[in-house]
C-alpha cells in the first residue's frame, strides 16, 4: 500500500534521511521507532510531501507521489496527523473535522450533511469531541487536541494514515487512551504507519516494526523478533 524506497531528504545542506526504505501493507499497523533525531518525523514529512525528498521513491497505492505537493498527496489517499497535532486553533472542533474530509466534500453548501456519517463515527470514537464540537480547537487540552488530530485524519477515510508521536506531552492515562483507540482502529482494518517514543507500547500494537538510526533503517522485523534482538532491547525496550 505504501512503499518507501531509498529515501533521501534533509533541511538545506544537512541530509537527515540517508536511504530510508520501508513498506506498509494494506491493513497493517507498522511502527517506526528510534532515538530522538534518528529521522522518524523527517521520514513522515518526506512521505506526505511537507519535505521534498532529494532522492528515492514514495509509492502510494501503486502511484509514485514523491515531489508532489502535500495537498495533492493527501487527495490521493494519505492522511498525515503531524507531530505537535497542528489543529486549526481558531476554528471550531467540528470545523477541524469537516476540513479533514475537505477533498471529498462540496465546497459551498451541503457539506455538513454529506459528512454527517463520518462525524458521527468520530464522535462515537471520541465522545469528548462531541461535547466540545462548537468550541474552538485552540482551547482544548493536549489530549483532546490529539484526539481531534486523529479524528481529523480519519475523516479523510485515508488509504494510509501516518500518525506522528501521538503520545507526545500527554499524561500517562491519556496515552493509554490513545493506544486503545489505535488498537480499535487496527481491528477496523486501518493501514497505519506509527511513529512513537514509547517503543514498548508501539510494538504491542504493531504488526511489524522498523528501528531507525541516523537516517536509515537499522533493524526491522515483527515485534516478537525485535523483542528478542538484544541491541533493540538494550537501546529502546530496556
Amino acid at each position: 500500500m505504501l512503499v518507501v524506497d531509498d529515501l533521501h531528504a534533509g533541511y538545506g545542506a544537512s541530509e537527515v534521511l540517508v536511504g530510508t526504505s520501508l513498506t506498509v501493507k494494506r491493513g497493517a499497523v507498522v511502527a517506526l521507532i528510534g532515538a530522538n533525531g534518528a529521522g522518524k518525523t523527517t521520514t513522515m514529512r518526506a512521505i506526505s510531501g511537507l519535505l521534498r525528498p532529494s532522492r528515492g521513491r514514495v509509492v502510494l497505492d501503486g502511484k509514485e507521489v514523491q515531489g508532489l505537493d502535500p495537498s495533492r498527496i493527501a487527495r490521493l489517499g494519505l492522511a498525515h496527523s503531524p507531530e505537535g497535532r497542528k489543529v486549526f486553533g481558531p476554528l471550531s472542533v467540528e470545523d477541524n473535522l469537516l476540513l479533514g474530509a475537505y477533498a471529498r466534500l462540496p465546497r459551498f453548501f451541503g457539506f455538513r450533511s454529506r459528512a454527517q456519517a463520518d462525524l458521527d463515527r468520530i464522535y462515537e470514537l471520541f465522545p469528548r469531541l462531541k461535547d466540545r464540537a462548537r468550541q474552538s480547537a485552540g482551547t482544548l487540552s493536549g489530549g483532546e487536541q490529539q484526539m481531534l488530530a486523529i479524528g481529523r485524519a480519519l475523516m479523510a477515510r485515508p488509504k494510509v494514515m501516518l500518525l506522528d508521536e501521538p503520545s507526545m506531552g500527554l499524561a500517562p492515562v491519556i496515552v493509554q487512551e490513545v493506544f486503545r483507540t489505535i488498537r480499535r482502529l487496527k481491528e477496523e482494518g486501518i493501514t497505519l504507519l506509527l511513529v512513537e517514543q514509547f517503543a514498548k507500547s508501539a510494538l504491542e500494537v504493531a504488526d511489524y516494526a522498523y528501528v531507525m538510526e541516523r537516517g536509515h533503517i537499522a533493524v526491522e522485523g515483527t515485534p516478537e523478533e525485535l523483542g528478542r534482538n538484544e541491541r533493540v532491547i538494550a537501546a529502546y525496550l530496556g
Partner: protein, 292 residues
C-alpha cells in the same frame, strides 16, 4: 449650531473612512493566507474605477457595471499574485513588497496611457441630494458607500464562516502546512485571497469615485490612509478596520475644517506613528499566543 457642524463633519468623514476601511480589509484578506499584502492596492482601486467608468460610458447600467468592475478587480488581483507575489513567496523571500509595488507602477502607467491624467467625474444613478437624519445631512451617495462597504465585508465574512471553502481559507491562515495535509491547496487559497482582495479594492473605487472623481492620483491618496487604518487596527480584525476607518475619516474631516485643508493628512499620520510606537500589533490585533 457648533455641535451640529461637528456632527455633520464627523458623519460625512466617517462614511468616507469606510472606503479606507474597505481597502485595508483587502490587505487583511491576503495577509491571512500568505502573510503578504499588495502594496499596489491603490492602483487596483484606481484602475478598476477607470474600467468601471468605461463600462458606464459604454452604456452599461449600474447593476451590470458593479459586478463587471468587481470581476475586473479580481482579475487584477490574480495578476498581482501570479506575476509578482507568488514568485517571491515560492522562494520564501520578502520580494513581494517590491514586486507588488512594481506591478502597481505598471498599472499606473497603463491607466495614464489609456485614460489620461485628468480627474474625471464618475456618473452614478444614486442621487446626491441630502437627507436629514437627526439634524445631520447625509446624501444617498454617502449612504451607498456605507451600505456597499458593510455589505461586501459581511458577505466575505459569511463566506469564510459558512462555506467549506471559506473554512479552508481560515485553515490556511491558521496553519498552512496542516491545511495542505487536509488536501487544501495553499497556492490556490492564496490566489483566491488575492482575487477577493482585488474585487474588494474595485468596489472601493466604484463607491468612492462618484464622490471624489476618478484620476490616476487617487491611488496614492487612498493607499496611505488604508495603510494607516490597517496598521492601527491590526491585520486580523475586520471589525477593527471599520471602527478605525470611520474614526480616521471623521478626524480628517474635522482637521481640515478647523485647521485648514492642508492639515487633512495630519490625523492619519499621527495615528500611524502612535500605533507603531505604542502597539505594533494593532489596537484590535491579537498578540500571537503559541502553545508548544
Amino acid at each position: 449650531m457648533n455641535a451640529l457642524i461637528i456632527g455633520q463633519m464627523a458623519v460625512s468623514g466617517a462614511l468616507m473612512g469606510l472606503v479606507y476601511a474597505l481597502i485595508a480589509y483587502g490587505f487583511q484578506l491576503t495577509y491571512a493566507t500568505s502573510k503578504s499584502i499588495n502594496f499596489g492596492q491603490g492602483e487596483l482601486v484606481m484602475v478598476s474605477a477607470f474600467f468601471s467608468l468605461t463600462l458606464t460610458n459604454l452604456g452599461a447600467p449600474y447593476w451590470l457595471m458593479v459586478p463587471g468592475g468587481l470581476l475586473f478587480g479580481a482579475l487584477l488581483g490574480l495578476i498581482v499574485e501570479r506575476a509578482g507575489v507568488r514568485l517571491a513567496l515560492e522562494q520564501k523571500s520578502e520580494g513581494w513588497i517590491l514586486l507588488s509595488i512594481i506591478i502597481g507602477l505598471f498599472f499606473f502607467s497603463a491607466a495614464e496611457n489609456i485614460w489620461g491624467r485628468d480627474d474625471r467625474p464618475f456618473p452614478t444613478p444614486i442621487s446626491a441630494d441630502p437627507i436629514n437624519i437627526f439634524g445631520v445631512d447625509v446624501t444617498r451617495l454617502e449612504l451607498s458607500v456605507a451600505v456597499g462597504v458593510l455589505a461586501i465585508m459581511g458577505l466575505v465574512e459569511l463566506f469564510k464562516r459558512r462555506t467549506l471553502l471559506g473554512k479552508a481559507f481560515e485553515a490556511v491562515s491558521a496553519d498552512r502546512d496542516a491545511a495542505e495535509l487536509m488536501g487544501i491547496s495553499a497556492t490556490r487559497t492564496v490566489m483566491l485571497s488575492y482575487g477577493l482582495s482585488g474585487a474588494v479594492a474595485a468596489l472601493a473605487g466604484i463607491l468612492v469615485s462618484p464622490i471624489t472623481t476618478v484620476g490616476p492620483t487617487m491611488a496614492s491618496a487612498l493607499i496611505l490612509k488604508a495603510f494607516s487604518v490597517a496598521v492601527v487596527a491590526g491585520l486580523d480584525s475586520g471589525f477593527g478596520v471599520v471602527v478605525i476607518g470611520m474614526a480616521l475619516g471623521a478626524l480628517e474631516s474635522l482637521a481640515s475644517f478647523y485647521l485648514g485643508s492642508g492639515w487633512r493628512e495630519a490625523p492619519g499620520l499621527t495615528l500611524l506613528i502612535l500605533a507603531l510606537a505604542v502597539r505594533p500589533t494593532g489596537v484590535f490585533g491579537k498578540a500571537a499566543i503559541r502553545k508548544v
